[in-house]
């Protein structure tokens, strides 16, 4: 039990050791390619009040007058000291912007992760247990249709039905207007989270349903399950008993490995719901040509995906001891 974990961690840290600098260089190269003039993006609608000399001053303040190699060297130097630089759009250290925005996004992503895991696994088991009959067909159709639906469209439909049509839930934002953070009740916060979390959960659920169904079917076809079945255990009881234990580990592994996609989905969900998270900041950074922030967000999400994959590896080994022998 204890030997495989340090080995796994060490291996993954080594991988991170080369992946991170390579990704940093790649991101810098990519973003330096952008033909968008950051000064124009920054000045925006104020063209008539910012003369050409001031534009030069802005460019100089951001170091844009220096050659790319020099900028990269100084950015790397900062990075090594844990400083991601200064965000242009937000006029604050990139680290501070990310730290301020991350909690709102993580609340969405975390809740959606849990919800889609529970729902996806249960639906997958139900489908597997009723293989070939109508519940299976309905569940599979839903999963396949959801997988082909643009996430932001699902979000818009949810708003149209539950916020505008029925008026049950707020259409936007993380809190009610006009209230201080200290005045917002937990009930209010939850009400505002329902639609965004539902959107995100729906986005991540389809692969989970189909995989869980598949692994349950494999289990039900196994000699052990046939034996239990011969002793009178119904498929449903088998599915939610030993089948659940059998499938949950695989499901969790798969779900953790795709957690990064939930973050990608949250960019779109936050746009629809005006959610003050990192996804919204990503869109602002891209439309505002805020290179330092974009690079910071790129590295942050790289770590997020990496952590998801690492946890998935650990989950896989906990679920299946045979895997522990290979690092």
């Amino acid at each position: 039990m204890s030997a495989w974990l340090p080995a796994l961690l060490a291996g993954r840290m080594i991988r991170l050791g080369w992946l991170l600098p390579l990704a940093a260089a790649g991101l810098f190269a990519l973003i330096s390619l952008a033909p968008i003039d950051p000064v124009q993006a920054y000045v925006g609608g104020r063209t008539s009040q910012i003369g050409p000399e001031q534009r030069d001053a802005i460019a100089a303040a951001w170091g844009l007058d220096r050659p790319a190699a020099e900028r990269f060297a100084s950015w790397l130097g900062q990075l090594a000291r844990g400083d991601l630089g200064q965000s242009i759009t937000f006029n604050a250290p990139v680290m501070q912007v990310i730290a301020a925005r991350l909690p709102a996004s993580m609340a969405l992503v975390g809740l959606a992760f849990a919800l889609s895991f529970v729902l996806g696994t249960l639906l997958g088991l139900a489908a597997g247990a009723t293989r070939g009959r109508w519940p299976d067909r309905v569940i599979r159709t839903i999963a396949v249709v959801l997988a082909a639906s643009p996430g932001f469209w699902v979000a818009i439909l949810l708003v149209a039905v539950f916020a505008v049509g029925l008026g049950w839930l707020p259409a936007c934002c993380a809190t009610p207007p006009g209230q201080l953070a200290s005045e917002v009740t937990p009930a209010d916060s939850l009400r505002h989270m329902v639609l965004p979390v539902a959107t995100l959960s729906v986005v991540g659920i389809a692969p989970l349903v189909l995989h869980t169904r598949q692994s349950l079917i494999a289990f039900l076809d196994s000699p052990a399950a046939r034996h239990l079945s011969a002793h009178g255990a119904s498929p449903l009881r088998l599915a939610f008993g030993p089948g659940l234990r059998h499938a949950a580990g695989v499901a969790l592994t798969l779900h953790l490995a795709s957690a990064g996609e939930l973050f990608g989905g949250s960019v779109l969900a936050e746009t629809v719901f005006a959610w003050p998270g990192l996804g919204q900041a990503t869109v602002r950074a891209a439309t505002g040509a805020d290179a330092p922030l974009l690079m910071g967000i790129g590295l942050a999400t790289l770590l997020f995906v990496f952590a998801g994959n690492l946890l998935a590896d650990i989950a896989a080994r906990l679920a299946d001891p045979r895997l522990r022998r290979v690092a």
Binding site: L19, R140, A148, S149, I156, V203, G265, L268, T301, L302
Partner: protein, 285 residues
């Protein structure tokens, strides 16, 4: 915007013939695609124009899916947008397939090349898909070109692994060794042994990438980094529909999303059926 739907277990052969199944899904998908591409140019002139007399109408006989706040007919606009999305999606998926084939085959040119492709794969999978798409689209300055390049550079890893796996399998196979021993040139071997095996895989790979390409294209356009806002596209229509939804005009958002979903669905099913046809999926991922 989810990841690929992974294979369900094929139903017993006596109930479903995989080949017939793939044909059926293929016909549906290609018919949809053809219908959109052929019908869009037939739209009467002025079908997409602004009509101030017909603003924000709910569905009625003259406008079967209603009009938007500027009086544009949603049905016509959806069709034009779908055609645009499909064209961009085909281009992007094609480019991505090309990248995948080149990298997948390059990986078979020795250990060093294999390592380089491996590192590129790690990098491409290291960021959430959509975040990487945003970065690349930004680097290209947005627009249609940006979308095509972004999709091309993000959707290749899966197919490239299949290519690498297949090519290695064939290259080390007995009959290739025999052909070489008989004095056949590398080119001859490539044409007669490699190509027949790889071409079906490439086509299947393309079909699998396509729905993802159009969904991601729509996502990028939705946040303003994709297709230019003056061209009709599903993502742009959806982002314009946001404000109308608040006024209760649900029909403005319903049709474009549904159209995109149907096309993505048809091709996802088609790709799935092709993949089951071309061998056990577990071996190739």
């Amino acid at each position: 915007m989810s990841g690929a739907v992974d294979p369900t277990l094929p139903l017993p052969a006596r109930r479903r013939n995989p080949r017939r199944r793939a044909t059926r899904h293929g016909v549906v998908a290609l018919a949809l695609l053809g219908a959109v591409l052929l019908a869009a140019p037939l739209l009467p002139e002025g079908a997409l124009s602004i009509d101030r007399a017909a603003r924000a109408l709910p569905p009625d006989p003259a406008h079967p899916i209603g009009t938007d706040m500027l009086g544009r007919d949603i049905a016509a606009r959806t069709l034009a947008a779908l055609a645009k999305s499909v064209q961009v999606g085909l281009l992007a998926a094609g480019a991505s397939t090309l990248v995948a084939v080149v990298l997948g085959l390059a990986a078979t040119f020795g250990r060093a090349a294999d390592h380089v492709v491996g590192v590129l794969t790690e990098l491409a999978l290291g960021l959430p898909h959509f975040v990487l798409l945003i970065m690349i689209a930004f680097a290209m300055g947005g627009g249609t070109t940006g979308v095509v390049v972004a999709v091309a550079l993000t959707h290749w890893p899966r197919l490239s692994r299949i290519m690498r796996h297949e090519a290695q399998g064939i290259a080390t196979s007995d009959y290739v060794a025999i052909s070489r021993a008989l004095g056949r040139s590398r080119l001859w071997v490539a044409r007669h042994h490699l190509a027949p095996h790889l071409v079906p895989q490439i086509i299947a790979g393309f079909i699998v990438i396509f729905p993802h390409a159009i969904l991601h294209e729509a996502g990028l356009s939705f946040i303003g980094l994709g297709i230019e806002p003056h061209l009709p596209s599903i993502g742009v229509m959806m982002s314009e529909s946001l404000r109308e939804i608040m006024a209760g005009h649900w029909w403005v958002a319903a049709a474009p999303g549904l159209g995109l979903m149907l096309i993505a669905l048809a091709f996802e099913r088609f790709g799935e059926a092709l993949r089951q046809l071309s061998g056990p999926p577990g071996a190739t991922t």
